[in-house]
Symmetry: C2
Subunit: 237 residues, 2 copies
DNA sequence: TCAAAAGTGTTTTATCTACACCCATGA
DNA sequence: TCATGGGTGTAGATAAAACACTTTTGA
């Protein structure tokens, strides 16, 4: 940040950034994409990817652009959603920086990308980060906490879980998403009943997939609905 | 906004504001506090109250300060919550202004206040604004829509409804809050059962209040819980 | 024919809805 | 004693949780 910017911030303006909590599921584990910071402050620390919002773009566009730069994902078959703004005066030692936090959910997101900022991007199990209360730069621990809670809630009342599954998927795969994110097991038969009953959640493709063992599973794709009625409550079954 | 600010914005910084959707219930009607703008742009238009976030305050503090300036309410017995950030480049004709939107919910909020900005503050029925799609300045129609939807959701899963009731309150008064905000009637006996069963939602004071007619109603105060378990679904009873 | 995973059915239990009914007060 | 709103009870319908059971595949 050059001196002109610093002086401007002093006048009462803010730098506005977007930060992204990008989640995917790999090996039945919820992972979040972190970068290793190459510059001060918090050089060498892990942080959520993000960056400045440009002059001519909306916040959503900024988030989508950063996402592309960090992961190479173009945003199809991916859920992107703003979930909070963080602007404590001390959250960035360089001065007032207000960040708009987004969460991104997707299936099969790539390992890393050769982009400039993302040179040191890597997937980390969420559980591992939560163990240590202050493992991330800035207030990113707090942001990650909020993002995770939001995702857990969203699984209850919306159909987003399907974006974690490459299409077509089986109901067992979809159930696994819930189990991984909620950290508990669900009854397979009751889950099946609820998932198929909820209007527009999943629709059968008519095809099957045969596994290593056992009866072949019917394949589904995501339905058109975005809200789950009735909801799938965490507290239940 | 002076020229120095304008030039700074040009550099890529933003003005950051908070805007408030302040709701209360008067005469069994959901009301929102609007101000009449005294300056360009949108001079003469109604708008949500709000203002710049100061250099040394958090976003929450900024929202609380604006709230105090606009309504004279000090924030006790009042729910204040951030619910979104709005930052389209064209949302303010003066240049890039990112606003952090808050909703405030309270009982018996005062009619108006002699503060500087709030000289023309007045309560308006929400329904009246929603009739006309573009009755507010900037993107405040959109912000109000989002705020209202958030409030409706919050009544389902949290105990916030109690902040609309001056304490102590009767269960009928609390039910009326739901009916006004959801725009539908609820079965009094089923509502009672659910409200009293939900752990920490309301607690009896042991006192009664005698109305104009009918049996005196038991009085309650809000409980300690902030989440409603089980939830009170809009779709139900 | 056995193991493994998919998928169906059923029993028990809890919950919700709708509504009847009783209670306590002022007029 | 009647009107009015507060509050309780309950029958029938609905849905949820737990789990037994059947189906279809690979080995």
């Amino acid at each position: 940040m050059d001196e002109r910017l610093a002086r401007s911030i002093d006048v009462g303006l803010s730098l506005v950034t977007v930060d992204l909590a990008i989640f995917t599921i790999r090996n039945e584990t919820l992972m979040v994409l972190l970068i290793e910071r190459g510059v001060e402050p918090f050089r060498g620390c892990s942080a959520l990817p993000g960056g400045r919002v440009r002059k001519q773009e909306t916040l959503d566009q900024g988030a989508r652009r950063e996402l592309l730069e960090e992961t190479g994902v173009d945003g199809t078959r991916l859920h992107l959603e703003q979930f909070g703004a963080f602007g404590d005066p001390e959250r960035d030692p360089r001065g007032r920086v207000v960040t708009i936090a987004y969460l991104a959910l997707g299936a099969d997101l790539p390992e890393a990308v050769g982009g400039t900022d993302a040179a040191h991007a890597h997937w980390v199990p969420v559980e591992e980060i939560l163990k240590t209360p202050t493992s991330l730069a800035f207030d990113h621990d707090r942001i990650l906490d909020d993002a995770l809670e939001r995702v857990r809630e969203k699984l209850e009342y919306t159909t987003v879980a399907t974006v974690f599954c490459p299409e077509p998927f089986t109901l067992s795969e979809l159930r696994k998403v819930y189990e991984v994110i909620w950290g508990r097991e669900l009854d397979p038969s009751n889950f099946r009943r609820k998932a198929t009953k909820a209007e527009g959640f999943v629709e059968p493709t008519g095809q099957q997939r045969t596994q290593q063992a056992g009866r072949p599973a019917a394949l589904y794709r995501k339905g058109q609905a975005s809200f789950l009625t009735p909801p799938l409550l965490r507290s239940a079954s």
